[in-house]
């Protein structure tokens, strides 16, 4: 029963929504179900929050390696939760001046806004900025000319990189207008719009077919591994 019921719900909902996609009168059912999902996900968020507290409190209690970080996590989590939930420092909305909680939780100048703007965003930006260094190290490994394929990759990448910078435009500006496609930016366009696009489309078609096949297996109950292996 534990496996049959979820399978039944998934199958019926899935097939009904596929059919609904072709019937104008009930096409909006998909949006309704998406709303249901959002509600369920909202409740599930409580589970996630409880899990964070449980794991980090356990870590602090056991004095496991790095328990200090868990302390920071819990303080940050509870602090932001409190100021956000109780709208600390947020003035009431102009429309409802007598209702103290009617203001926008992310009101500029409030503690929640401050934490978001001056703590969270810089931290997220720092993580994102690290990507540049990781791209450099990954590119260094990927572009090593070990074999013919790697050489082709290296040369292609070199042309595309140059074609997207002013240096590339500057280096090949002497090529006459009638042969403009031979300039770095011209070759880059050809590589991106012909070879790269063709490869991308092949991958996208494969993905589309894979999505259909996987969905069908799940809906028909052929693949039940997401409910645990047999």
């Amino acid at each position: 029963m534990k496996r049959t019921l979820p399978l039944l719900i998934a199958s019926i909902t899935g097939f009904v929504l596929i059919v609904a996609n072709f019937i104008p009168k009930i096409q909006s059912w998909g949006d309704i179900v998406t709303n249901w999902f959002d509600i369920v996900a909202g409740f599930a968020f409580v589970l996630g929050a409880a899990n964070i507290l449980k794991l980090h409190l356990q870590k602090i209690s056991d004095r496991r390696a790095g328990w200090g970080y868990s302390g920071v996590t819990i303080i940050a989590f509870l602090g932001m939760l409190a100021v956000g939930l109780f709208k600390v420092g947020v003035p009431p909305a102009e429309k409802y001046p007598t209702h103290s909680w009617s203001g926008y939780y992310l009101h500029e100048g409030g503690p929640f806004w401050w934490g978001f703007q001056y703590v969270f965003l810089p931290l997220a930006a720092t993580m994102f900025a690290m990507l540049a260094f990781y791209i450099a190290s990954a590119a260094f490994r990927a572009f090593r000319a070990k074999n013919t394929e790697a050489v082709i990759l290296l040369v292609t990448a070199f042309i595309v990189l140059l074609g997207r910078t002013y240096a590339g435009t500057y280096l090949t500006q002497g090529i006459p207008e009638e042969y403009a496609w031979l300039r770095f930016e011209g070759i880059t366009e050809i590589i991106m719009n012909v070879f790269n696009l063709a490869g991308n489309r092949a991958i996208m078609i494969g993905i589309g077919l894979g999505v259909v096949s996987t969905s069908l297996k799940v809906l028909l109950g052929v693949d039940r591994s997401y409910l645990g292996t047999e």
Binding site: F22, L209, S213, D223
Partner: protein, 405 residues
């Protein structure tokens, strides 16, 4: 008295001049306004098409027409009502989506000059009645193609069930799953499984969870620890159910620890920081990235590379594939990722579904071939039949203009 008469005459003259200048500024009206019932809808949409006002030309500066205004009325009503949407110059179509099915509508359109004066109106000659339709004809060919692909998947699943031999090519990335789990077991280090950063309603997350089921089964058999940090609460609960069932199926329910599957945060880079921290501290011997990834793909895969873990990635995000290819030992590209669960299960009826996908590819290749040949013929000869076939392929078969032209 004479002075009053003179002033009156002057005022009349000035007002005439004013009217004259306004008349001179009024643009020429648009023409041939046609209203059509939108196909495949619930009877709320009417498509309007017209030809531009002769004064609406891009080469005249300043422009003589800056916008168009549409009016609507029910047949039988005396007055037109202005529609809220104002259309910019050069607009030739509009879809009115606030009609009621079964009622007759008439429309008119005027061009508007920069000084706000309107042209005379162009009016529809026939009333249009938006119909409630029971089948979305715009998706007719999509439905046919879906039936072909789904039908072939089901056919091959059934023929595999009946014992038909199927030849499936080896996928290196999936062959390496055993090796990766075995390596983690030998080294006494955990296995890290990242199911992407989207929620369980995304098909990639579901595909990732199906792979997790197989990896968890192997980990349970080998006695290895598997850690699954998630960025969505629902994915955490699903992953827990899946891993628990896999450990149970492998005969090792005692080895299952639900705390190994935990929620970090919904925030993309917060999640990356959490997973990277875990990777650097616990140095997992095998890392699996199976699901939907964005900018975090390379951050995670490069960290995994730096700790010397054997890494297998699978995603259907084409923009992230190069990063995984550069940083991981094996990458499942697009359809291979969706084939993973069937491949790892080794069950013949599941492998049948992969064969069914091939039929979809054959249909795609045939359409590509026909399309390329016809497009080339059109370019070289401008043959009318070839143009009609190409239009049918583009607008009907692959577009949304119904079953037939």
């Amino acid at each position: 008295m004479q002075r009053i008469r003179n002033r009156l005459a002057l005022a009349i003259l000035l007002s005439m001049l004013g009217t004259g200048s306004a008349l001179a500024a009024s643009p020429a009206p648009p023409s041939n306004l046609v209203a059509l019932d939108a196909p495949g809808d619930v009877g709320k949409k009417v498509i309007l098409k017209w030809e531009l006002s002769p004064d609406d030309t891009p080469d005249v500066k300043p422009r003589k027409v800056i916008s168009y205004i549409l009016f609507r009325k029910l047949a039988g009503d005396s007055k037109f009502t202005k529609l809220e949407d104002e259309l910019t110059y050069q607009a030739t179509t509009f879809t009115d989506d606030e009609c009621e099915p079964g009622k007759s509508y008439l429309y008119e359109i005027v061009a508007v000059a920069p000084d706000g004066s309107h042209s005379t109106a162009a009016t529809t000659t026939e009333a249009v009645i938006p119909d409630l339709e029971y089948f979305d004809t715009n998706k007719a060919w999509f439905g046919v193609l879906l039936l072909i692909v789904c039908g072939s998947v089901i056919y091959f699943i059934e023929s595999a069930r009946s014992g038909k031999e199927l030849k499936i090519r080896k996928i290196a990335g999936l062959e390496a799953v055993d090796e990766a789990v075995g390596r983690a077991t030998e080294m006494g280090r955990p296995i890290l499984f990242v199911p992407g950063i989207l929620d369980i309603n995304d098909i990639q997350t579901i595909a990732g969870i199906t792979v997790l089921s197989r990896v968890a089964h192997l980990a349970a058999e080998y006695g290895a620890q598997i850690e699954v940090p998630t960025s969505r609460s629902l994915v955490m609960t699903t992953a827990r159910e899946t891993v628990e069932a896999s450990f149970l199926a492998a005969g090792r329910p005692d080895a299952y620890n639900e705390d190994d599957i935990y929620y970090l945060t919904d925030e993309q880079f917060g999640y990356v920081a959490g997973v990277q921290g875990m990777m650097v501290r616990e140095k997992p011997a095998a890392c699996f990235y199976m699901g939907a990834f964005f900018a975090e793909s390379l951050l995670l895969a490069e960290t995994g590379n730096s700790i010397g873990a054997i890494q297998v990635a699978g995603t259907a995000m084409p923009s992230q594939l190069p990063f995984f290819v550069a940083a991981c030992d094996y990458t499942l590209i697009g359809e291979e990722f969706f084939a993973a669960s069937a491949y790892l299960s080794g069950e013949t009826h599941q492998l049948g579904s992969l064969k069914g996908q091939d039929v979809g590819k054959v249909v795609g290749v045939v359409l590509f071939g026909i399309g390329c040949v016809i497009a080339t013929v059109v370019t070289l000869t401008d043959n009318a039949s070839a143009v009609a076939i190409l239009d049918f392929l583009k607008n009907n078969l692959l577009g949304s203009e119904g079953f037939l032209p």
